[in-house]
Amino acid sequence: MRQFLSEKVINLKPSGIRKFFDIVSEMKEAISLGVGEPDFDTPWHIRDEGIYSLERGKTFYTSNAGLKPLREEISNYLKRTQDLVYNPDNEIVVTVGGSEAIDIALRAVINPGDEVIIPQPSYVSYEPCAILADAKPVIINLKAENEFRLKPDELTSAITPKTKVLILPYPNNPTGAIMEENDLEEIAKIIIENDLLVLSDEIYSALTYKGKHISIAQIKGMQERTILINGFSKAYAMTGWRLGYACGPKEIISQMTKIHQFAIMCAPTTSQYAAVEALKKGDNDVEMMRKAYNQRRRFLLNAFKEMKLDCFEPYGAFYVFPCIKEFNMTSEEFATKLLMEEKVAVVPGTAFGDCGEGYLRISYAYSLENLKIAISRISNFVERLRKQA
């Protein structure tokens, strides 16, 4: 028989997380700090609204771009939180999670051979999505000494005449890094000078611990060259509802909506009704969860300080990214050994790019009780390794 598979797909590297997942899921008694989603249940009033929409028989397709009331609430939300103005009629598309938004944004703007700059460590889907869209991914290896922020010189040296898009993944998964206003201003200057487009993945925007999140779209001259991606998964603990959105110039959003229309039709209707409620009445829930994450973040940072494990202070998302280079092991070796000996699962930094080597992603989307047990095991492990050395 013929080889039916696409070479492009065959050549895609499988997710680095998958392999580790298979080992962990075999170990029933392991404590996992490897999850990239909130531990909170979706707030009840939001779930209730989803249920209510089903009871009322709201079980049909919505318009391709998403329910009009939802687009209006998204527009209100961005205005009230980030002072950004997007027209709900033609500058917003509701997607199946932020993930779909990343995919269709790249497909909408890439011509074969265009270069997409991807700072790493970062979320696992940017590079494959870029490749599937026939772009050439250009990786920037971010540095711990810059707190994993994107620096102007790093960006400048990655730009070629073929560069079209910069993916800007902040607040960052896996490092927890953020970009502050002055960082963004420097980047914006280069973007405008080189006539580039920014794909700003702000899915963790509600979870920052050092002032309010700022979008690059807020920097002067940038809204017209930014596709802003956000969603409900992280802020409202709604991962399973699969709902996100993209906002940007109407020329781009209309082309993205075209792909979305042919590939997806529309985002899940029940989720869209629930999301309207989330945006209308969920601010307090978000704040309550943010406070809880921040307490855990402080707890972990303090614990690593006591262990004398090198870790920069992350101000966003729900991850810490400690450095384990002192042990002369790869991240994967360290994570595997930690799992085998202490039954704690963390994700090797290399799952998020080669430059994640020497680091671990530790999620604090877990109860404090859970974190305490895990930390005491990690502490034992680290002590033992140091004695052996």
Binding site: Y123, V124, N302
Partner: protein
């Protein structure tokens, strides 16, 4: 949310937490936290550190009743005086002044149904300003102090996700 509000919301759920850990969670000095808790106690904002017990799971017999009480308020003292007459009984666990169809709501905890009946007929109904009472027995406690009884915590998430 101020540090004080956040501190209260933490210890409302976990009164056993120590000063050191509280200080870490709040990003404050241990001394600051100690002083704040002392102040909160002196101001009568923190009134006690109790334990939430699901008595149904123990062998100890307990009957809880909610009693609606209609009273005549007294000149110069309103409801406070009669409320005090009621809440001074140690078997009365709580007393609230309520808007609506009746005035006071008292919860009563006793070992047996008979003891509750005796309390209502001998002590409560005979108070001068009490006009009438209605007693409701609690059959099952689903949720108390924001905590769902019998809730099994299970992490439904996949163990590793990107």
């Amino acid at each position: 949310m101020t540090m004080r509000d956040e501190l209260l919301s933490i210890i409302e759920k976990n009164s056993r937490i120590d000063f050191k850990e509280l200080a870490i969670l709040l990003g404050e000095k241990e001394e600051t936290v100690f002083n704040e808790i002392t102040n909160l106690q002196e101001e009568g904002i923190i009134c006690g550190f109790h334990t939430l017990i699901n008595w149904e799971k123990t062998s100890i017999e307990k009957v809880t009743a909610l009693i609606e009480v209609k009273v005549t308020p007294q000149r110069g003292q309103g409801f406070d005086h009669i409320a005090e007459r009621i809440y001074n009984y140690p078997e009365v666990k709580s007393v609230y002044l309520i808007s609506g169809g009746y005035d006071l709501l008292a919860t009563l905890e006793e070992k047996t149904l008979k003891e509750i009946a005796n309390f209502v007929s001998d002590k409560l109904s005979t108070l001068d300003s009490v006009l009438s009472t209605a007693t409701h027995f609690i059959l099952k406690k689903y949720k108390d102090h924001g905590t769902i009884m019998n809730k099994i915590q299970k992490d439904e998430r996949e163990v590793i996700t990107p």
